[in-house]
Symmetry: C3
Subunit: 654 residues, 3 copies
């Protein structure tokens, strides 16, 4: 079992070299083990075309090594230097208006521009050759935050050409594409693949099937760009972990696909920044402004752990105020520690704070670090030291187990419902996050899984709302899982080609549930369809009119008599988007029936098991009495009266 | 008198040919008489440049004909195929930012690009020659929804050149243009017509006179484009009706001008979609989310009947949820029938549902039809059948008569106040619709008319608020009408050249009312000017300070003493935008004085006479007791206790 | 001491020549002394390239001269005619999307385009030679409202080239620029000045140091453009005043820098339009919709008086409703007079109404003037006459004295906090205006001053919140001033290069206050940090965590214990953005301690001394009893019971 450690992000190139040794000593002293460096340093590694300067980096790695620190080395391809952009100006991505997205910040490249990909191969090869065998280098980070600043999709000539070839490869002949996209509609039929245009600057919305393929193509370009670097590193730096740092609430590419070329899935966790940017209402944002959404971080831990086939890092952990949200409050006292343990509870191997020392210059100068710009400790410095000591004291290890509950998360579905929300506030991500929160409030551990047959095995409860397309394989997997399976709304409502299934939704899932979805409606804010049996429970934003077949029992009805929830054997179909009350009541009923052990948690208290170890977290503003949960167990962390931001740990009874 | 019928929109090219016969049989069986086809089928009619394939269309028409159905054939010019766009890429319109509006949806053409207009003439000629004499073809629809997706205005080089020639034709010499536009202001004077730029991408707002001429020019381009097809059809398909399907709440071109080249004005009525997109407040939208604005449809029926010189069709009638509004709820049970009869009450010859079968692919796959995608009946299928039976049972015919009340609607005024709202929420369309609703709530039938002298004849009450420019001819027509005439606010406040009249507003109308408008103000939301004599009545958004001449009596004053309503003989001037209470009180007073018979209707009940036949509609959520209105008459449709969405019909007593 | 006068803006080119003489006579009759003309007349002065037509202007000036009026002659460079734009299309500025900002309104030129600057020199030379010695011409206005419609910044090729040269001149070698901007961050390092790109169209935000330099450069381009005209006028029209008409709430260039090349700073005062466009809340906007923000005008008078080294004009004074705000209400009866005297109280030499007669055509036809379009008097005509009489009766003269209180306003700080608000509603302008209002509500006269050492002399209280960069010189000036000095929040938080000071904020100011700013946070609306000792006082939007040194006493603490206000000798540091209650309590305390005489004013009453003369203004809706303020003094204007919009004047006792 992997020991759980702390790390930090460090930019030796930002500081005078005479600070490095002292920095490394202090890192060690704090209890940090892992240091990420190099991911934005291209202009220092290759100051002009073809002239490498790796010496400084070698010295920096040596300094860290001598202090006993492990290095994660980043490839610098997220920030190509100016001389490279000047050499190949067409490497820039184009935005949806067709304008080049220029030099002067970061991620200024188009994934489809082949000459740039070759430049990346060149610099990565040189770096891997130089440092791939260095004993301090334990891992590589490929590029940085793919897609950040809306950079997955590019409307460049290179992207257009690549999309045409992608379509040709997928469909073979243009007639097949015309049929798949339904191009007979509005005379959109094409006679050659070279007639395909990128779906932008159209008079009104483009064909959703074309948009979906463009999103899949754009996602594939990210994965292909990524794979080229992975292959180089594997060759020149064997046995090192390869990782990438994903972002939060980000669905512009298929992270599972990139994950297939990773050893570890990492993500960058900024609870306060993400909360400010979320769709949560004003009251929620105010209440949690200093601790973050109680479920947001855990959701991503569970999601990305699946992306990493079980291996998870927090590559960047918010240590204080950030600079990039609409408002940037300071974390509550204790919040940074809370977030750290929330990650470890979910099986993170490393939690790495971003960044060591606050930079006094450039875009992120208002982003706090462990140190102030003048090298004095900031609050998170002390927090990190304390967490390091605690990790030691509890002998923290990754002990994650397969959860009884699987919540299906599917990037194609996120693409589909972004293209066709049908009601303008319909968000797949928010919907899934809400179901996650509902399950978690019952004290359950949840795996967030891709819609693959293998992910359904060994489950007691599978929740798969709004899963865009059905398939025979998944239908079989649901059947064979033995689990209670909740589908709907919108599950299976399209074919893979973004068409309504010939036999009506839920398509291939129809035999499971024996209902047909005939009509749907989206509901404006304030409109709702009450559902019987749940006090104040109702459908909001979305509801469906379903025809229940002979084998389907109607478990709940709407006040207007339409079926709200149906069941055939272990398969349930929910005919609308539930409000919180209905969702919570429903999940409780399902979890009980699935034989899961529920724990009644007050609002703001969350729980997570790391194997036999149970963590309890207090996101509220009042103390929480652990006694009923704790039972006879004795606390390894925390007190029986758990204060705000408190973390409790104990060995789960039984 | 024309018999009233049902129709449907059908896309044979979307379906396997072996479905057509059964489709036709079922249409007939439902009671549909009219089928619109072909309007988006260019890529099937001409798969490559110059190679026509009309056979399938001939077979489809024959199938419909054999089932006894009448065909409306659409010209396919709203969706030019990709090969044509590739052949002449400059045919694309340019948006206000100067970007081409590309292929991939519909309406991707510039009205001013002559080579495209010639291509349209070519395909329309071929179609008219092929099908113009077919006995099933009873009408032609030219193009589809001119202006949809904001496509009236184009900023292409072709549009610029055409606008220069249009100005040259209008003004003759550039000095006249400079004077008309007031170009001495800000040194905007020109010395040649070729110096004219389209009014976009200016540093701040462009000259309003230039903007107005650009809107008139753009409108003229639509009418000219339309006329070229009309002339071809007239030549090759004599004695068939020519129609176009207008949209709702759309004022980007002069529909009366296009109407002069139509036999029938049709429009596409989507009550729920239009309500969601309207400026109505949230409470209103929620209340009427399943039945639509009680006055919106009737207003357009009355407006477009005037555009069609008395002949009106509903070319597309919403049959269920649509896909294109911010939210897309299902209609209430009964709403589709309600909308159908509201149209027939207003004199529609045909109500045609959009569409026969829901398409499972492409942009409109979430738009419901009479059939589900799998050919099973959806709710509207049964509704259509019932309505067809009822039309038979009541022997429904168009019996529209000239209304006593004329409400003036003027597209130039819509242009003018869009250009110069002066208060950012001033909307000419909303203002007129509100006056329409006020009149209709008194149980009155209203003609919505253009500001032409002939439209003023045979009226008892003429309401003409915010009519942008006065004219001597209209002044005379008002005088000679014998009607009570309500002007103001903003009526006659400009010359045709968008200048303040030399003798102050209301310009030529001044002798009628003997007031001069000296000052105006727009009022922010929440600000209002109370008006005496109307409980809680007030001006909102807009008010004027007027000098009343010796012949003008002040009937109402604002609380600050300024005249609110003046009168000289039969001519009244209203010095502000009334809130609902003031507007309703004022209209009641005027209608009474004009000798009109008023009927006190509760909120949500509406009434409309089709000649001697009186319809009553219930847009509310409670039953309505018809007895007081019905008197001794006996019901042909509906019950004395009219339920929500109920329709009553009886022969008007007297 | 300069006599205070009225003026008006006049456009002879808009009217038939036979109106001019009568216009001049009526101006004189009203009591106007000064007439501004010519500033938009280029197309009439030079109808085609190189052909001047100055005769009409000469006749117009003579007519005005003969009526005894003084002329301010505008240079017409804000509205280059179409033939000039056609001759050099690259003269157009480019917006941030890179698009030319075209002909058709005004200000369509790029400050960096040298050929256009030479054309301006040519026309200005010709005008100065023709009219520079005319006895009626007493002053010149250079161009018009620099920066209006967001025209300071241009992204043209000319601007890019000029910015590269500006950077080269500032930094000398590219390494210095790289260090100053912190370009090592994100590999932004450059190797040649010609690699610099303008900071737009970047993938995410550009480097703040680059943005700041671009704003400084853009500001310098305005000043340089301005200076070239000034030098010509000085040469050909000696002893005439040179002025420019600035705008309100406008911070896109350094007005103090332009002011160094002015004899008089003028501004265009539109109280109602500016209020509508401001960030004030809805309730405030509604309450003051007809009188304007009680502090906004006075603030600008005090600011621009400093820009003009003590000499201030109101070049354009709102006389009625305007046309350009979201809503455009009429001023309250008395408001125009109130605004006029507010300006005279602040030392304005001239208040000039915009405009003489309302134009019936073009963009500003809804902007009222002293006359209606048909030459009848509008309300402001009578107001102007009355004010003129009053000025005579009180023998009004400029008697402004140096104020005890200095409020520092710094354009670089406005640039900096626009670039890096850190909380999205952080506005430097609003913050300073709020402090100004707080001081003014205590009955204090305030000088608004630049952050120059000399401006600090002879003060009792200096208020300098959010002053972006500290400097040794200013630190010394604060020390030597003998004044109580209030710094914070954000004061001295950056170096001039937009970096966090090496020794932490407040940088050079740190020795004065002996605190270090360690952390900051921005707070979302509704979040606040209560501060003890002020009932309901709190920090909002912004607060700082400070470490107080041994010499700093903590005067106030936040409820969470953090220092809120510290003091070392005469130097105070405020660790957050105060809400109204806290700000007012704090300013009262400081003013008392500074030995200033405070006057308790009810809400809506304002006061201003013009030397020994004290003005009192009533912006409220109720009468105000002057007795307590008036004491034994006798009123020169107004009554003891001062009505809404009332103005009182008396000789200050003592």
């Amino acid at each position: 079992m992997t020991k759980q450690r702390l790390g930090v992000c460090y930019y030796p190139e930002h500081w005078p070299e005479d600070l490095w040794t002292e920095d490394a000593r202090r890192m060690r002293d704090v209890g940090l083990s892992v240091v990420r460096i190099g991911e934005f340093a291209w202009s220092r590694l290759e100051p002009e075309d073809g002239r490498y300067d790796f010496d400084w980096l070698a010295r920096a790695i040596d300094v860290l090594h001598e202090a006993g620190l492990r290095v994660v080395l980043g490839t610098p391809t997220a920030t190509p230097p100016k001389w490279l952009v000047d050499k190949m100006p067409d490497m820039l991505a184009r935005n949806a208006q067709g304008r080049p997205r220029g030099f002067g910040s970061r991620r200024h490249y188009c994934f489809s521009y082949e000459p740039y990909a070759r430049e990346c191969e060149r610099i990565v090869t040189a770096l891997a050759q130089a440092f791939g065998a260095h004993p301090a280098v334990v891992a590589w980070q490929i590029d940085n935050e793919y897609g950040c600043h809306d950079t997955v999709e590019s409307y460049s000539p290179a992207a257009r050409e690549a999309f045409r070839r992608w379509c040709e490869h997928k469909y073979g002949d243009i007639g097949a594409l015309n049929r798949a996209w339904g191009n007979v509609f509005w005379s959109m039929e094409l006679s050659r693949f070279d007639q395909i245009e990128l779906p932008h600057l159209t008079v009104t919305e483009a064909n959703p099937a074309c948009l979906l393929d463009f999103k899949r193509f754009s996602s594939d370009q990210v994965a292909a760009f990524h794979r080229r670097q992975v292959e180089i590193i594997r060759r020149h730096s064997p046995s090192r972990d390869i990782l990438h740092n994903f972002m939060g609430a980000f669905t512009a590419f298929d992270h599972f696909a990139v994950g297939r070329d990773l050893d570890v899935a990492a993500w960058d966790s900024y609870p306060l920044g993400f909360l400010e940017r979320s769709h949560r209402d004003e009251a929620f944002k105010r209440r949690f402004m200093r601790v973050g959404d109680p479920d947001f971080q855990a959701f991503h831990h569970d999601l990305y752990r699946a992306c990493g086939a079980g291996r998870l890092w927090i590559m960047e952990q918010q240590p204080g105020a950030v600079n990039w949200a609409p408002w940037n409050p300071l974390p509550a006292k204790g919040a940074v520690r809370l977030w750290s343990f929330e990650a470890f509870a979910a099986g993170a191997e490393v939690v790495s704070y971003f960044r060591w020392r606050q930079a006094p210059f450039a875009q992120e100068q208002m982003h706090e670090g462990l140190l102030l710009p003048n090298s004095e400790p900031n609050e998170a410095y002390h927090v990190a030291r304390a967490v390091a000591r605690e990790l030691e004291s509890i002998d923290a290890k990754v002990e994650t187990e397969c959860a009884d509950v699987a919540l299906v998360f599917d990037y194609d579905s996120a693409f589909a419902w972004e293209i066709e929300p049908q009601g303008q506030d319909f968000s797949y991500f928010d919907l899934i996050l809400d179901f996650y929160g509902g399950l978690r409030k019952l004290g359950l551990n949840v795996d967030v899984v891709p819609p693959t047959p293998e992910a359904m095995a060994r489950r007691k409860l599978i929740v798969a709302p709004a899963l865009f397309a059905s398939s025979a394989a998944l239908t079989r997997a649901f059947s064979e899982s033995g689990a209670l399976v909740l589908l709907g709304p919108r599950s299976g409502s399209k074919t893979e080609d973004f068409q309504i299934p010939p036999g009506l939704p839920p398509g291939d899932f129809r035999p499971l549930v024996d209902v047909a979805i005939q009509r749907v409606e989206s509901l404006r804010p304030g409109a709702q369809i009450p559902v019987e049996a749940a006090e104040n429970g109702a459908f909001v934003r979305w509801r469906e009119i379903i025809a229940a077949g002979a084998e389907a029992a109607v478990l709940l009805r709407c006040d207007d008599g339409a079926p709200a929830l149906t069941r055939r054997e272990r398969f349930l179909y929910l005919a609308g988007l539930p409000n919180d009350l209905l969702r919570d009541a429903l999940l409780r009923r399902l979890a009980n029936e699935a034989g899961l052990t529920l724990i009644d948690l007050p609002e703001h208290i969350r729980l997570r098991d790391n194997g036999p170890m149970r963590y309890v977290f207090n996101y509220g503003e009042r103390d929480f009495d652990l006694s009923p949960i704790l039972g006879e167990a004795s606390l390894l962390l925390g007190e029986r009266r758990l204060p705000p931001c408190g973390v409790a740990l104990f060995r789960r009874p039984g």
